[in-house]
Amino acid sequence: MKTPPSQNCHIQPDHVNPLGLTAWITLAGIISFVTLALQFIPVQQASAATISGKSVSITLTAADFGLTSTQPHSSYDGSTTLSGGDISGTSIAMTEGTTSITRKDLLFFTYADTKSNRNVSATYSLTRPKLTVSGSTTSYVTISNVTQSKVTYSSSSKTYSGYANMTIDLSNTSRSGSYSTTGTTITINVTII
């Protein structure tokens, strides 16, 4: 039998009478019963949370950088003499390329569960978010942010799918090729309720 300690503290000798004592005993008994009753309500145990991290691959295109392959400028105007030499004409007013690119709703993990009403959420943490390419030590891609976008449940496959938005930065990238997570880890902490 469990009695909340605070209740005993409030019992004063002056207030003890058969009626009051009965009341406390009754209440303590009920609380004990309630506590006991809770222990018999079955807990909905989530199955073992086995999270499968998915490989994430992003293929960029030239359009992602906001520029076309040719950037014409209207007119270069300069002057010289019949002696020739250097001509410093109109400067090229170049348009800035986009180096921060976000891909939305990338599949990062799956979690199998027969129950469809779980509350599943995830957080993503990065370590050494620098992706490198073979043959270069100066050209790299940085993952700057990963945030959860959504979690969906498939009744047919009995699987939750976790999606996230990922932002990458190419301000230090000069080479084309496949950049991979050598030494880089994206850890997904998934909470299932």
Partner: protein, 206 residues
């Protein structure tokens, strides 16, 4: 007694509340690891001008050939070649190279820029063009030779019709800017006015 009843009622209410509560859920956490691969394509951005307008300042020279003399002038109309008459051999060369038949070199600075991505981080930049600039409806031409490109600020000896340039990524701050050089020859130029021709600058990832 009433107090006892209240306590019993409270307890009963508590039981009802408990009975209607959803079953307590269990919280579990799991950890997964994703391998990320990002494929960066070959990208090349060439900035260029659709029109290059070069104005050449007019120039004059005068050459003093000393004395032209003729004696024994008759009383009527006559023609004569006096001493010191100008001949092809006695004409002085112009001081300006362009006016005495020599080539002059124009270096149009920063008329193109390249940036982007390639497997080597470099691109080939080349230039092609006609052998002369022409004036519409005339036979007067300005000859072109040694049409070349060069990275701005590089040694002149690096100029060529095809060069290698660093791409430096997609940002304009890291783009490589370059010049176009051409030799002009005015040996077959007789008319002032506008002369035109098209040159083509090509950038290819490498």
């Amino acid at each position: 007694m009433n107090k006892t009843l209240r306590n019993i009622a409270f307890g009963a209410a508590l039981l009802v509340t408990v009975a209607q509560s959803p079953a307590r859920a269990a919280t579990q956490t799991g950890t997964g690891t994703s391998v990320v691969t990002i494929v960066v394509p070959d990208v090349i951005i060439l900035d260029y001008f659709t029109s290059i307008n070069i104005g050449i300042a007019g120039q004059s020279e005068s050459k003093d050939h000393g004395v032209y003399a003729q004696s024994n002038i008759g009383g009527g109309d006559q023609s004569f070649n006096g001493t010191g008459a100008l001949t092809t051999g006695t004409l002085a060369d112009a001081s300006t190279a362009a006016l005495n038949g020599s080539d002059i070199t124009l270096n149009m600075k920063n008329v193109w820029a390249v940036r982007g991505f390639s497997t080597s981080g470099k691109a080939t930049v080349s230039v092609t063009g006609p052998s002369s600039l022409t004036k519409a409806a005339t036979s007067s031409v300005i000859g072109i030779s040694k049409l070349q490109v060069m990275v701005d600020g590089a040694q002149a000896s690096s100029a060529s019709n095809s060069i290698s340039a660093d791409l430096g990524g997609i940002q304009k701050a890291t783009a490589t800017k370059g010049d176009v050089l051409m030799n002009l020859n005015f040996a077959n130029t007789s008319l002032s006015g506008n002369y035109s021709g098209s040159i083509t600058i090509t950038a290819v990832t490498m």
